[in-house]
């Protein structure tokens, strides 16, 4: 097997992503049924979403608002008039025999998302964003198929990129960014495992530098970020092997199989559906006045990119820190809560979050919003470090205890007597007694072995159970040994 790097040297990879994002509105797109994950089958249904004869859809205004929010956050142009259209096809989990979607008049077009590639930013253009409804689920068991229509009619956004993505890694970054933006603006949890974010990949290869596009293959059924990368990697390898043998790529839709990590033909172009789109006569066009759009724009929170730049430029955080902190809305909220209490030194706060808190949370599988150490406690801990009450080493101990018990750092320091010893006389006495106990080491130091100082510092810290101020210990030791 040739390495990915080798293959990418010979071919340009052209990828476009089609993403479906479930909106977290309370109710469905066209009826009053609850949107809920994991409810018993066919409990969140009504005559409308079951497509009983004579029922009519009524558009969920909240869903339109959410889609506008998303489109604005993706820098799209929102159209004052857009039209719901019927996409006709038969499937057991599609109750009406058509999906209400948008076709030639989508809600929004011409946006972009910025992703970080190396040290620079790359724009992935958004071709369009439109509103549609989700289908139900068909579950196959043995010779039976079961249909659950709880999901039928859940509001979706379909977000289509231009073919601007040129590697599996960029695809992953784009999706992570998209998920992040959706969470920031609160329109979706965008959890891939729960199917709230689903992605189809359009991929083609062309000889390096050629401007003639290759034949496009669509990959479906990919339900995690990891699999997106795997599926694209597999597909690049498959297509480039064929191309090098002089064979043609067939335009087709392929399914990704997570078990084997391979993709398989689902249907070829000849079998493609004619969806017979036409405007849904049951629904009026969606009309958005400039003022409506402006009002929604005003309601948008600070977006990840804006936060990133503020962190770098105003808070003077290193770009890496800013990127990590803004990559998760709740993490950014946590960070901002801490620095609102302890604004003196954002960098040290960031260090402690990135180096200590995140690792610990990750180990325990806890989300930042459920962190046992509250932002208040966290700020307290940082201020104890900064004002010299405890040393960095002790702080880690306090942090661990606070994490386990949820107690406040101040309380822990009190209870355990962990306050740093910064009294020079006290330290000097301890230093003296240590030097008396270790005459051999003192001799070695005096004969030029500076390294032995570390051992002596260690002995002092041991005597003080680590509470002595390390700078003072160093200073006094040198004085006493002089």
């Amino acid at each position: 097997m040739e390495s990915m790097v080798m293959l990418e040297k010979e071919f340009d990879v052209v990828i476009g992503l089609e993403t479906h994002v479930q909106m977290n509105t309370n109710t469905k797109m066209f009826c009053g049924c609850k949107v809920e994950f994991g409810a018993p089958p066919n409990t969140n249904v009504c005559p409308v979403c079951l497509a009983h004869p004579g029922t009519l859809p009524v558009i969920n205004k909240k869903a339109v608002e959410y889609a506008v929010k998303a489109a604005l956050a993706l820098n799209c142009k929102i159209h004052n008039l857009s039209i719901m259209a019927r996409k006709n096809y038969f499937y057991p989990d599609l109750p009406k025999g058509y999906q209400i979607s948008q076709y030639d008049k989508p809600l929004a077009t011409d946006g972009y998302v910025e992703i970080k590639v190396g040290d620079s930013f790359k724009k992935i253009r958004i071709h369009r964003l439109h509103i549609e409804e989700d289908a139900g689920k068909t579950i196959h068991e043995g010779s039976y198929s079961y249909v659950d229509l709880n999901r039928a009619g859940t509001p979706l956004m379909e977000i289509v990129t231009e073919p601007d993505i040129s590697s599996p890694e960029e695809a992953r970054k784009y999706l992570e960014k998209l998920r992040n933006i959706m969470r920031y603006i609160g329109v979706s949890e965008a959890d891939m495992e729960k199917g709230q974010l689903r992605c189809d990949v359009n991929i083609s290869l062309k000889p390096k530098g050629s401007d003639k596009l290759g034949t496009k293959v669509e990959l479906k059924n990919i339900n995690s970020f990891r699999f997106i990368v795997k599926a694209i990697e597999y597909e690049i390898e498959r297509q480039s092997k064929l191309l090098k043998k002089g064979e043609k790529i067939i335009q087709e839709t392929r399914l990704f199989d997570p078990e084997s990590g391979k993709t398989y033909t689902m249907r070829t172009k000849e079998e493609a559906h004619d969806y017979r789109y036409f405007p849904d006569p049951d629904l009026l066009p969606i009309v958005l006045k400039d003022q409506d759009i402006e009002n929604i724009k005003k309601s948008l929170p600070e977006l990840p990119d804006q936060k990133y730049h503020r962190y770098v430029e105003t808070l003077n955080l290193p770009p890496y820190d800013a990127e990590v902190l803004t990559s998760d809305k709740n993490l950014a909220i946590y960070f901002e809560q801490v620095i609102s209490i302890f604004p003196q030194n954002p960098k040290i706060v960031s260090n402690w979050i990135l180096n200590e808190l995140l690792g610990k949370l990750n180990d325990k599988g806890i989300d930042i919003e459920n962190s046992p150490i509250t932002p208040q406690s966290f700020a307290e801990l940082i201020s104890l470090i900064v004002d010299g009450t405890i040393s960095g080493k002790i702080a880690k101990e306090v942090f661990d205890i606070a994490f386990e018990t949820g107690k406040s750092p101040k309380q822990i320091v009190e209870e355990k007597g962990l306050k740093q010893i910064s009294n020079e006389d006290e330290i000097r006495n301890i230093v003296k007694s240590v030097l008396e106990k270790h005459p051999a080491e003192v001799e070695k130091y005096k004969s030029g072995n500076e390294k032995i100082l570390g051992f002596l510092v260690g002995q002092v810290m041991k005597e003080t159970k680590g509470k002595a101020n390390p700078q003072l210990v160093n200073k006094i030791l040198r004085e006493e040994l002089a």
Partner: protein, 485 residues
């Protein structure tokens, strides 16, 4: 006089003044129904027993009511494509032969709030596709004036049962003339309201952009009475419009003096049956005597209405009928080996030939490569036809024409020739295409069969066409002659 000969308005007043009880009204109509129904076969589901029980309940309820609603205790028949909770709603299709809805259409809810009495679900051409009820999967309803002839369609059952005076009011639906044509054939009043005037929620969709629910009655005031109840914005139907609903019973009494009648030259050609033409023009003369003026107008694009209709309606139908797939409800074929076969056998066995014909036409005109040439073009012509009406209504208040090119035809006469059948809608489809309201009222007879006159109005101006119709009814008391008496 027997109660069944009275109008709904008369009965309503008698019930309100407590001179008669709902059960007496219902009983009288049931007796009449027993006489005529075996001959005309208007009902797919006859709810005689249900109606009797309902009326008994209303007899008790009325004693507790402070204000008695207009339709309290009034028997009303419902076309079998309007959803009635707990009552089989078949659309006269094998596909829904045993289908019992779990919800009421908005119009049914509104009628229930009034305390109406449902008498039965009436026969129609399958899924409202047809002009004679011959496309019903169950049987053909007969015209009460001549049992050899069709009652018209698709709302033939609702028209026949009112014409035979077995019920004073009924509801139908009109997509291309399905209320007005049977009203004309059966010699009664039939109103297609403006698109968006009456909620379509619960009307099993045929062509969503054309369908409207409307009433049948023997008198104009009865149409006004029920319109007062069913008209108005419904939040469950996005295409229903929030336009104030006047009190039609008051509106119809207003004078017609000074109103202008337009006669479209495209509808009064030399091809038109002379007797039909004379009958309608004679009625127009009567109205002229009442102080209305008459002028010729032009609807230049109306001649494309039929073609436009037979693209738009099947296109929408092909999509609307996709839900009948055998998965969740309705008919499902017995033997199948896979999903594809389940679909195709279910739909092949469950739908009749006219429905299949229209699904195929609709699927074709929406197909990629044909969409622009057919569906999109038809939509453009639709706009032109609409604009014709807008222009005409700058000059006149109402437009009058025959409702149909001829009187009721014989059963079987046109059923082998779909094009001939489609052409019987030639005067009615334009109103659906242009979304305007239109009413058919009787204006005379040809060969002992009723002739209908169509009065078309401005959008949401049902009041004016009802007013003109009411004035004409005062001149020619068409409701006095009842067939099968």
């Amino acid at each position: 006089m027997s109660l069944w000969k009275k109008t709904a308005l008369e009965l309503s007043n008698l019930i309100k003044s407590k001179e008669i009880k709902p059960s007496e009204v219902v009983q009288s109509f049931i007796e009449r129904k027993r006489q005529v129904e075996p001959k005309i076969q208007a009902y797919v589901t006859d709810l005689e027993e249900f109606a009797i029980q309902m009326a008994k309940k209303l007899d008790e309820e009325i004693t507790k009511l402070e204000k008695i609603p207009d339709l309290f205790g009034i028997p009303i028949a419902i076309k079998d494509n309007i959803s009635t909770k707990g009552i089989r709603t078949t659309c006269s299709s094998k596909m829904l032969e045993n289908f019992v809805p779990i919800y009421d259409a908005t119009v049914i809810e509104r009628l229930k709030e009034q305390g109406y009495v449902i008498t039965g679900k009436t026969n129609l051409d399958e899924f409202a596709m047809g002009s004679s009820t011959e496309n019903s999967a169950f049987f053909t309803t007969k015209n009460p004036w001549d049992l050899e002839r069709v009652p018209g369609g698709s709302s033939g059952g609702s028209a026949a049962i009112v014409a035979a005076a077995a019920v004073p009011l009924s509801l139908g639906s009109d997509t291309g003339g399905s209320i007005r044509q049977p009203a004309a054939f059966c010699g009664i009043v039939g109103l297609k309201p403006t698109y968006g005037r009456v909620s379509r929620y619960g009307l099993v969709a045929f062509a969503s952009s054309l369908d409207q629910i409307g009433p049948f009655s023997r008198t104009v005031e009865d149409a006004a009475l029920i319109m007062n109840v069913i008209a108005g914005k419904d939040n469950r139907d996005s295409t229903s419009k929030d336009v104030p609903v006047p009190n039609y019973l008051e509106e119809i009494k207003k004078d017609v003096k000074g109103l202008k009648i337009g006669l479209p030259k495209e509808f009064f050609t030399d091809d038109l049956d002379p007797q039909i033409k004379d009958t309608v023009l004679n009625a127009v003369k009567q109205l002229e005597k009442e102080g209305m003026s008459v002028e010729e107008i032009s609807l230049p694009h109306a001649k494309y209405a039929i073609e436009t209709y037979y693209i738009i309606a099947p296109a929408e139908a092909s999509s609307n009928l996709a839900r009948f797939d055998g998965v969740r409800y309705g008919y499902r074929t017995k033997d199948y080996s896979d999903l594809e076969e389940m679909y195709s056998k279910t739909r092949n066995e469950g739908f009749g030939s006219e429905v299949k014909r229209r699904i195929m036409i609709g699927t074709y005109v929406l197909s990629s490569g044909y969409y622009d040439a057919y569906y999109l073009k038809a939509q453009k012509v639709r706009t032109l036809i609409y604009q014709d009406y807008v222009k005409a209504f700058e000059k006149v208040d109402v437009i009058i024409s025959p409702t149909t090119p001829d009187v009721a035809f014989k059963i079987g006469e046109k059923s082998s020739d779909p094009i001939q059948m489609y052409l019987s809608d030639i005067f009615t489809v334009s109103a659906n295409i242009a979304t305007v309201p239109a009413i058919s009222i009787p204006c005379g007879f040809k060969d002992n069969l009723p002739v209908g006159m169509q009065i078309t109005g401005k959008p949401f101006d049902e009041a004016t066409i009802l007013r003109v119709a009411y004035r004409y009814q005062n001149i020619y008391r068409f409701y006095e002659k009842i067939p099968m008496e």
